[in-house]
Symmetry: C3
Subunit: 184 residues, 3 copies
């Protein structure tokens, strides 16, 4: 383990022309300083803020919206991670079934059953409306951020997985997602 007050950090250049797959072990790059290959294959960072249009309270499949915004950029990564960060506290991001919309309806039903709202609710935070405090709780239950592996220029999700935006407020508002891509 590391000591409790130390920082470890390193900056570095790159020297390989393309990634290589080998079984269960790490590839060590041949030594070269060709600047062209560097520029072509170096570790890349990309970051973008996507604004999603207002959507009604409930769970929504947003994979197509996200892919429309980042699909072209993903193609530049052979291996990496895509991070999605929702900049709000009354909505959430989760990964779940991408096929039957009943799954999204039932998930919204569950959330509304589990988190009391209105007269029966014990909340102190009520100034922003009866749906606001339940929205905050649901946001922490499902979370506001996701990391998804990138493999060969695509999000490497399972066949039935999709990205959901869960809107927990009654009043639809635009939602911002900061997407950060990192990889090679």
């Amino acid at each position: 383990m590391q000591s409790s007050l130390s920082f470890l950090s390193v900056a570095k250049p790159l020297s390989v022309s393309s990634p290589v797959r080998i079984k269960c072990s790490l590839f060590t790059a041949p030594s070269t300083t060709d600047p062209n290959s560097m520029a072509a294959s170096g570790p890349k960072w990309a970051q973008k803020t996507i604004t999603l249009p207002p959507q009604r309270r409930g769970c929504h499949l947003i994979t197509p919206k996200i892919m429309k915004e980042i699909g072209q950029d993903l193609s530049g990564f052979n291996c990496g991670l895509a991070h999605l960060f929702l900049q709000h506290t009354s909505a959430s991001l989760t990964i779940n079934e991408n096929y039957d919309s009943d799954v999204r309806t039932d998930t919204e039903t569950f959330l509304n059953r589990i988190v009391p709202e209105g007269a029966s609710a014990p909340w102190r935070h009520t100034l922003e409306g009866p749906d606001d405090m339940p929205a905050h709780i649901k946001s922490s239950m499902f979370g506001c951020q996701l990391s998804i592996p990138i493999t060969n220029g695509k999000l490497n999700m399972g066949t039935w997985q999709g990205i959901w935006l869960c809107e927990h407020r009654d009043e639809p508002t635009a939602r911002k997602v900061v997407v950060t891509l990192n990889g090679i």
Copy 2:
């Protein structure tokens, strides 16, 4: 904050004095092998273990404590991710409202309603006290780790977002968070 339709991206080694934004495509650095510019602008990793002082059972806003520990280091990143990892199984990390403390009180109320504790609880794991098994469940409900985008040297959270430590045990203990910064 960054504009809503721009991409920030860099391939390494880097040879410009500041990052460049171009719309929806990856920036490729001009080719140079000037080691100074490389060292100055290459991908960086930083890791630190932060010890948070004991806090009473409930939800606590810890953004200021975290920023005090990593704020200076964040300033060295134009684009990246900050990862926070709580090394415990009876507390949690989540992102939620940073303004009205009632939201934190209500969230604690919710957690205590949803997870049975004491005589009415069906738990087999009781040796560590009646609050221990509920604490483990709450820890998995909210999670013990977060990734937050870094943009222009700052955590790129929404206006109302803050980092919460949720302490689920009755007996306050110090909690350790491993912070890992990665970016350019």
Copy 3:
């Protein structure tokens, strides 16, 4: 998609022979282009899809299975992050107690209490069996992905933390986890 037993990874040149720890500030590498030292310590990406054997409904400690697959590769990282991504929507990944198996049993008890199943359940999505919709909900409650810090070649989890696979379906099936390692 990638094959289930292959690793994709690249090492980048580094201008120092080994990382350096300094208190609360970022280390800038001295300028040198010695390719040997570079190849030895550059930033690396590794990615692998692990297939976990079918397991009964409930929570299972899978740290040993994961370490058997990636332990050797982890040893090549001084500092970084390990990302685990479960490619399914009816199971989940979480970090919790690694010692007393009663904690896993009690967590399964909680999940079954909190998510209605069978005759009493309000679900519309029932074609895949009474346990399917509850499984989807549990998957979003606990999540399908985790990032864990890597420090000195090991997963830097707390003493009592372990990685759990929570199987939410009655019918055991093999589960795939995409593991992505990134660091120096």
